[in-house]
């Protein structure tokens, strides 16, 4: 029998032993009923069948050190293959002596972007850094990568490849589609019928067609659209196609942000005497863009994955490079290692970005409204 306490003095007792602790947790979460128990057994069986052979192949029996395919036994993964091809997978056929230029650009970006993640940095500084990242760096890096001026050697774009090319395409796509997306989003919300219709048609057109047809159009039809003396480079054609394609999705993301801004903000800006463009630039867009950063990051993740399609038009991004390496006559038979490495690269980037975007979304959810 329980003791009787005077009302209000009952102490907090620990729960009965069979309710907490590891045994109880296992019982409740894994074996709480016949169906659940069967599920657990099935899952354990799946894990047993998949995980040990996978770990064996990936790590335990794999070959990590060597210089040629003879250093690879057949029992595990041949990471020697990746090791030997690492430079091409990262940079394509960019000349080895000039790779420092690419690395320099990476370091600059990381250094400039790092302060953006810290709360202590003042807003104005963050804005300036963002401006540098989005506007100054693209121009600087263009000259840095292409060369031919400032004493740098010229590197033609067919030599660009690997992870470097993936980043170039994805980042250019996003950066170029931001201003165009803003204009389209504003245009779609406009009350002027001509402007609105033009924007709607543009957006729905690019959102309705697959990216591969855009790339085909870019490589086959683009030369037809421009006067004869301009013969744009294959990469430039692809970049234009990707930028236009991405701007339609960006426009919809930004439009969502514009719609979420309460009407009172528009009214307050107008009441203060700001005209359309001033109120957009100073009041509405800063709020809208900040709110849709998770959406922009998600679009970037999608674009990052979509860059793999350029291998169909003959550009060698990370996946294309992995495939090319695997079909090299000296290194036949290591396709799986190539794909696993490419998958690892994509997964790390995309997963990190999606976790960041989710974290942002949670932070913005509690902050806004």
């Amino acid at each position: 029998m329980a003791e009787k306490y005077t009302p209000g003095t009952h102490p907090d007792l620990p729960p009965p032993k069979n309710l907490v602790g590891p045994a109880a947790w296992i019982r409740d979460n894994l074996f709480s009923g016949p169906v659940n128990s069967i599920m657990t057994v099935f899952c354990l069986y799946l894990l047993w069948v998949i995980v040990p052979p996978l770990v064996n192949w990936l790590f335990l029996n794999a070959d990590w050190i060597g210089t040629s395919r003879d250093d690879c036994s057949k029992e595990g993964a041949c990471w020697v293959f990746i090791d030997v091809w690492m430079r091409q997978l990262m940079y394509g056929r960019y000349p080895a002596e000039e790779i420092w230029r690419i690395n320099l650009s990476y370091i600059l970006v990381v250094l400039t972007a790092l302060p953006l993640f810290f709360k202590a940095v003042p807003s104005k500084v963050k804005g300036a850094l963002a401006g540098v990242l989005l506007i100054v760096y693209p121009i600087v890096f263009f000259y840095l990568y292409v060369g031919g001026s400032f004493g740098l050697e010229f590197v033609e774009t067919p030599r660009w490849g690997g992870l470097f090319l993936t980043l170039v395409i994805a980042v250019t796509g996003i950066v170029a589609s931001l201003p165009l997306g803003i204009v389209l989003a504003l245009g779609r919300r406009s009350e002027m019928p001509v402007v609105k219709s033009l924007c709607v048609v543009f957006i729905e057109f690019w959102r309705g067609i697959p990216l591969i047809t855009v790339l085909f159009m870019a490589s086959v039809m683009f030369p037809l659209f421009v006067p004869e003396d301009l013969s744009p480079d294959k990469l430039v054609r692809a970049l234009v196609g990707v930028a236009l394609f991405s701007s339609a999705y960006m426009a919809e993301v930004i439009r969502g942000g514009l719609q979420a801004i309460p009407k009172g903000q528009y009214e307050a800006a107008a009441a203060m005497g700001l005209n359309y463009w001033k109120s957009m630039l100073l009041v509405i867009l800063p709020q809208a863009l900040k709110m849709v950063i998770p959406g922009i990051v998600n679009t970037f993740i999608g674009l990052f994955k979509d860059t793999t399609l350029v291998l169909i038009i003959g550009l060698f991004d990370l996946l294309g490079m992995a495939q090319a390496a695997a079909t090299n006559t000296d290194w036949l038979g290591f396709t799986i290692e190539g794909y696993v490495f490419a998958a690892f690269g994509f997964f790390v980037f995309c997963f990190a970005m999606s976790r960041y975007s989710q974290r942002l979304e949670r932070a913005l959810d509690t902050g806004h409204k």
Partner: protein
């Protein structure tokens, strides 16, 4: 059955909580709850937030599980036995703070859903039953509307009618007026008072002390997971014994 006969039946105990304890993980949320409720009794439960009062009544229809002690509803003990749980839920009705009407069904469909699928009533009979209770709560004209089209007070009255359609013997109310605008509280309390006068066994968690004074047979004060004090309304409000009860009453009766 007349009011008189119903009152005479009040020797029968319909709810018994014996030494009930509940934990959320390590947190001891209900401590040694002992409570007997007779048929036709009206009990009001009050207390500060976090005291466990909602948790306690939710244990009575097994929306929460207790880990120690017994809960016996009309001779059926509440355990993990699914059959017992279903039997209890048929006889016990509940009204929620946020109404929880089904927004994709009309008011009429909200009311007839359970009679048709649980009591296997023919549709016409269920609809007549539903209209009868809609008239009892004074909004028969809303039968074909959707919950989103009604005011808060109307939605709560519909929720009460929905529970009544299952002809429960016991009604539980979990802060039924806390989510309502002040001008709508009266219409809901009126319905609850009428229900009480007709002899329904009621357990009501509420802050509406006027309602408690008018209708309750007993008022229970809970704090920190325990029942601190219980008494009939007059001595409870005029002469609280425990200092925690005094503190609580002074806070809520002041405005």
């Amino acid at each position: 059955m007349s009011e008189q006969q119903k009152r005479e039946m009040s020797d029968e105990t319909v709810i018994r909580l014996v030494g009930m304890h509940k934990w959320y993980g390590d947190f001891h949320v209900l401590k040694d709850i002992n409570l007997d409720v007779k048929r036709g009794e009206r009990i009001v439960i009050c207390g500060p937030s976090g005291s466990g009062k909602s948790t306690m009544i939710r244990c009575i229809n097994r929306l929460e599980e207790h880990q120690q002690g017994q809960i016996i509803i009309e001779d059926t003990e509440l355990t993990n036995d699914v059959k017992n749980i279903e039997e209890v839920r048929r006889e016990v009705g509940m009204c929620f703070q946020h109404f929880n009407l089904f927004p994709h069904l009309t008011i009429l469909d909200n009311l007839t859903l359970a009679p048709i699928w649980v009591r296997k009533m023919p549709k016409k009979e269920a609809e007549e039953l539903a209209m009868h209770y809609l008239e009892r709560v004074k909004i028969p004209e809303q039968a074909d509307k959707y919950p989103g089209q009604l005011s808060g007070g109307q939605q709560q009255r519909v929720a009460i009618a929905r529970s009544l359609c299952m002809k429960p013997n016991i009604m539980l109310f979990d802060e039924p007026t806390s989510a309502l605008d002040p001008e709508m509280i009266a219409e809901v309390l009126d319905v609850m008072v009428t229900l009480a006068e007709e002899g329904m066994t009621m357990l009501c968690v509420t802050h509406e002390m006027g309602f408690a004074r008018k209708v309750a047979d007993r008022v229970i004060f809970m704090d920190g997971g325990e029942i601190i004090e219980e008494n009939t309304p007059e001595p409870f409000f005029n002469n609280p014994q425990n200092e925690r009860t005094q503190l609580f009453l002074s806070q809520i009766l002041n405005h």
